[in-house]
């Protein structure tokens, strides 16, 4: 198995080299009031495996929040810089830095964020990183720029998981990648479908559903050790795992009673108990931000609608009322926004609702399986087009859209990982 992973990884690397990027990213639409930022090439950055400044530039551009200006020169963090000249070129901020090789083989990556208006320093970082972590360090710098200029924590250094599949070849792969789709790694691979991956809140584990036993069974896999254990293999279906905010429990959908119902279980598989009680389908449970409630999909009123109940069950209240098909509830990290999929006029669209006001907004068409970014600013989803499934990202205000598409095959079932320390 280890060999297979290595082989697959090598194959992926080869494809990656040929195609340059494993996921192609197209950006449509821009945010209003983009912040103009100049990014200079880092001094001596060509000695590192990846070009730090180009990764930062791509991250900032992809966010839609910035108008990225190429500084057209290499500027070290140690240089004396004529900030007034950059201000004159339209940049409100300037990113400069340097890369140097340390005696132990690591790279010393230094960066400064400068304010061209106030003519001062906004931030600086200096980290010694292993060569393979050059890309991650660039994402961390982009996160720092994003946070210092917007006041919101950045998501460039986070990771995503998704399923790559080729049903005709009976080939299913659970992939872990950087949030920009680069740096793909195989977490699980097999000949039966894998669905519904879900990151643990601490980012070390992924829960998912595998069909390798000819039926859906829920596993939790430690990403670092590769060890996994069965969380639920009850009679019937075991699916839709969702973590509690503290990572101690999982909400699940099981059909052991005949119809699909919501259960809660400890993360090690112990203490399984039923929390929903209906004669129809109750599935897709999601914990609320405070862990005290569960949102879920139920057909108790006919077609599927989204409901909310206490974490120990009891009376459920209906949340969605427009349309006859409302599924896949996802709650924003601050607990204020519900994202879900609604079928209206035939197609499946991604909607967001402000839970306090009930105000709805349609964010994207042709969408299923939404997942919030950990800063709550973006939603990733699966979308069909050109006869295959790929991933896309939309900002929660609907203004910025990116398509992430692989060179071949279908990718679906995205889950956005948490902030990492």
């Amino acid at each position: 198995m280890k060999k297979l992973h290595t082989l697959l990884f090598s194959a992926t690397l080869l494809m990656g080299v040929a195609a340059h990027a494993q996921l192609r990213i197209d950006i449509a639409g821009v945010g209003s009031n983009q912040i103009p930022v100049a990014v200079a090439a880092f001094a001596d950055e060509s000695i590192a495996p990846q070009q730090v400044s180009s990764i930062i530039r791509a991250d900032l551009e992809r966010s839609g929040v910035f108008k990225v200006i190429d500084a057209r020169q290499s500027i070290s963090d140690k240089s004396n810089i004529d900030l007034a000249a950059f201000k004159a070129s339209g940049a409100d901020a300037l990113v400069v830095g340097s890369v140097s090789k340390l005696a132990d083989g690591r790279f010393d990556v230094r960066y400064r964020l400068l304010d061209t208006v106030k003519q001062g320093e906004l931030s600086r970082m200096a980290d010694a990183v292993a060569p393979r972590n050059t890309r991650l360090e660039a994402h961390r710098i982009a996160d720092d720029v994003y946070e210092k200029l917007t006041g919101v924590r950045g998501i460039f250094a986070t990771r995503i998981t998704y399923v790559k599949q080729n049903p005709a070849a009976r080939d299913y792969t659970l992939v872990i990648a950087d949030a920009d789709g680069e740096n793909e790694q195989v977490a699980a691979h097999g000949r039966e479908p894998i669905i519904s991956p879900s990151w643990s809140p601490d980012g070390t584990k992924v829960a998912y559903v595998s069909f390798e036993l000819r039926k859906p069974v829920i596993y939790v896999q430690d990403l670092v050790t590769g060890q996994r254990h069965v969380v639920a293999n009850e009679k019937g279906n075991n699916s839709a795992p969702a973590w509690s905010p503290d990572g101690s429990k999982l909400a699940l959908a099981l059909s052991k009673t005949g119809n699909t119902q919501v259960f809660v279980v400890n993360a090690d598989g112990s203490g399984m108990h039923r929390v929903s009680n209906s004669n129809g389908i109750d599935t897709e449970p999601q914990f609320s931000g405070d862990g005290q409630s569960l949102y879920f999909t139920s057909d108790r009123s006919g077609g599927p609608q989204i409901y909310k109940m206490g974490v120990n069950g009891g009376q459920a209240t209906r949340v969605t009322f427009n349309g006859n098909y409302n599924i896949s509830p996802r709650i924003s990290p601050d607990g204020k926004t519900l994202a879900w999929i609604s079928q209206r006029n035939g197609g499946f669209s991604l909607y967001a609702m402000d839970l306090a006001s009930g105000q709805e907004q349609r964010l994207a068409d042709g969408a299923t399986e939404p997942s919030f970014s950990p800063n709550g600013k973006y939603i990733m989803y699966a979308t069909k087009g050109g006869g295959r499934t790929s991933l896309a990202v939309v900002s929660v205000d609907g203004r910025i859209k990116q398509n992430l598409s692989t060179q071949a095959g279908n990718i679906r079932e995205p889950s956005w990982g948490p902030f990492m320390k």
Binding site: P193, F211, A253, T297
Partner: protein
């Protein structure tokens, strides 16, 4: 069964040995001098056929039998066994009540439209409808498990109504 086979083997082996121990005379036959009804060589069984009992053919393995049809189809947005699926259910229920050692997995499927998990739950409803129908015909719960493959393993890979109809289906899978 094993004992019976062994016995048959022993008998046939004995017959072969008996034949070998009684070689035919080598001299040329003198037909005209022999009486028309000669004494039969009672010890020569070389032309006898001893039947071996193989047991009955399992109707489950008959590709032309009714049990070869193991799929039950459903209408759009429906989770009730149609009239054309009822014989499939009753045929397999009949077999399972006679063969209580056999177990089946009933796998429900849906067409490709809609969400992954909701489709999984819908496919389960189809599998459960078949399970309940077989239970009503006397199949014990311990012989059946209703599960769903949702939209994950489509039999028909097209994106039109004929493909979708083929995929609104529950399959009876013997274990």
């Amino acid at each position: 069964m094993h004992n019976l086979k062994s016995l048959a083997f022993i008998i046939s082996t004995a017959a072969v040995l008996a034949a070998c121990s009684s070689p035919k005379p080598l001299e040329a036959p003198k037909v005209e001098e022999k009486p028309p009804v000669a004494q039969a060589p009672a010890e020569d069984h070389s032309h006898d056929v001893r039947p071996v009992e193989t047991g009955n053919v399992d109707p489950l393995n008959d590709p032309k039998g009714v049990l070869a049809n193991r799929s039950v189809y459903f209408d759009f947005d429906s989770y009730a066994v149609r009239d054309d699926g009822k014989p499939v259910v009753s045929n397999h229920a009949g077999y399972l009540t006679k063969h209580t050692e056999r177990k089946v997995l009933i796998q429900g499927n849906t067409d490709e439209r809609g969400g992954t998990e909701y489709n999984l739950a819908l496919g389960q409803k189809r599998a459960e409808a078949v399970r309940k129908a077989m239970s009503a015909l006397g199949v014990s719960d311990g012989q059946m498990e209703a599960v769903s493959l949702g939209k994950e393993k489509p039999k028909a890979t097209g994106h039109d109504e004929s493909a979708w109809a083929e995929n609104r289906r529950a399959d009876i899978v013997y274990q």
